[in-house]
Amino acid sequence: MDNKKIIKNLKNLRSLEAAGAPRELWLLSNRETLMSQIKPAPAPEYQAAKTDGVYYWQYFSGLFKQKVLQPAVSFISILMLMLTYTAMASVASASLPGDMLYPVKATGEKVSIALTFENDKKLELQMNFVGRRVDELTQLAKKDETTEVKARKISLAVKKLTQDVQSVKDNLDKISVKPEDSKVVEVAKVIDSKTLEVEQNIALVHQQLPEEVKGEVAQDVQKAISTAEEAGTSALGVIVENHNSGENKVSESEVTSRVAERIKNVEQNIAQVQLSALQVSTTTVEIITTGVSAVGTSTVEKIVATTSTIAIIGDKPQQAQEAIEQAKDLLGQKNFNSALEKIKESKEIINNVISDPKIVIPASAIKNTILNSSTSLIITNTQISATTTRTSETTRDLLKK
């Protein structure tokens, strides 16, 4: 007989009286005796009041005290924490700047970057995140919200975008000492192309914003665009260096087309600055010449705001255009380094025009502008907030005259 059979037989023995099965009658009488022995002692009141719920609670709280179950309980707790985090992270991945869970997303990205050790992979990842920022910006722009909230959120998104692009540039500058590193060159190519896309996308989103929001975030947008431009130029620098070092990882035609693309981009910027300046200038002049009394106080305020942004930039756009022309010539001569320098120079001039709020037109100059209806003054609409206080008085005086 094998073990299984023996064990089966042993279990079957239970019902046999000979194997210790008690008689039913005795069981019952014994129960009665036992109950009569234990029942007379009345249970204390507090115990009588106990419901089943209390016992269930006692049982579950007892589980936490058991040594054997402690690791299981800790394991389950850790598992629950992890699950909560994963759930939160997946919800956070869809969050936008200004949302409650957005910091979770940002932290997650920072951790991913910190855990990536290869330079090229790190840059690639950072560039992906820049792509996410652009998506966020696009989504925010489409959202239906009050001007104030929208402006605040867009401003946040644009600032985060600028920050991310800046860190791409910083990283690239740090590692671009070795242009012969083919992997880095590959990433540089990606950055070069993507920054152009990013710039166009930001500009596009900015164009589509409602007028009030547009003005509010203009400065931030401009900063983002110029940072992207700088990062792109740095990336292009790495590509050019690689080409010059004779590694031949990048063909001459490719460098030419990439530099040409940059030049085109800067030219577009110059054209845009000129255009928007002319628009503002013309409107202002028109309003002022129609006369203050005719248009009412609210328009006066508008004029004050707009006029206060008038800045003398003289022939700056022309200078920028000249630099770009030189860059084109140098590109024709295949002198990529110098061409790149000229691009940078031109870009710098344009940036100064856009972002320097200190160049403010004096009252007399505005008066001349109005009298002559001249469009020689270039006005940009990006300095509204920065210069309002400084020039509003001057402008008011002028308007009174």
Binding site: M1, L10, A19, G20, P22, N30, R31, L34, Y55
Partner: protein
């Protein structure tokens, strides 16, 4: 009781000296404890006396507010001690039975068994069980008839889990030998 959670709750009620719960507890355990004692003393009247005593002792112990960790193992422990007390008392009365004088009792019972059950596998298993030494029989009853876990048996017998496993292995082997001879 099939539902382990319900059983745990019942045990908690028993520990909190709920008489009705203790009644249910009695229903749940009386047959097992009875059998456990029966295999030790091999007399129906003695088994009945000791069984009644065990359930009263457990209740009194709980009434004193003493802590019982594993009620399941605790009832067997009390039963075991009661049997030991029973044999001691007998010894003092200078009767012819000793604590480990079970083989004799078992032999005495052979006729009774023969009368009650047919010659079969079951019969030979029971015979083999009765012919085992006390220590082996006890552990087999605890493990396979009463289905106590190894750790519960260890608690009842005051042994380590390892030695319970070894003992169980030897007991099963001895039973197998008894049955096949």
């Amino acid at each position: 009781m099939k539902n382990p959670l319900a059983q745990k709750i019942l045990f908690l009620k028993v520990k909190n000296q709920d008489p009705d719960a203790y009644g249910q507890f009695y229903d749940l355990y009386v047959k097992r404890i009875y059998r456990f004692i029966f295999f030790k003393v091999n007399s129906v009247s003695d088994t009945q006396d000791i069984t009644s005593e065990v359930f009263l002792k457990v209740w009194q112990y709980l009434k004193e507010g003493k802590e019982v960790k594993n009620l399941n193992a605790f009832v067997y422990l009390i039963a075991r001690n009661s049997v030991v007390d029973f044999f001691r008392a007998r010894q003092r009365q200078a009767e012819n039975l000793q604590t480990d004088g079970l083989p004799e009792v078992a032999d005495k019972n052979q006729d009774l068994l023969g009368r009650q059950i047919l010659e079969s596998d079951l019969n030979s298993t029971l015979k083999g069980l009765n012919n085992l030494k006390d220590e082996y029989r006890e552990i087999i009853v605890l493990r396979f008839l009463d289905e106590l876990s190894i750790s519960e048996i260890a608690e009842v017998l005051n042994k380590s889990k390892g030695s319970v496993r070894i003992l169980l292995h030897r007991a099963l082997k001895a039973l197998k030998d008894n049955v096949s001879h």
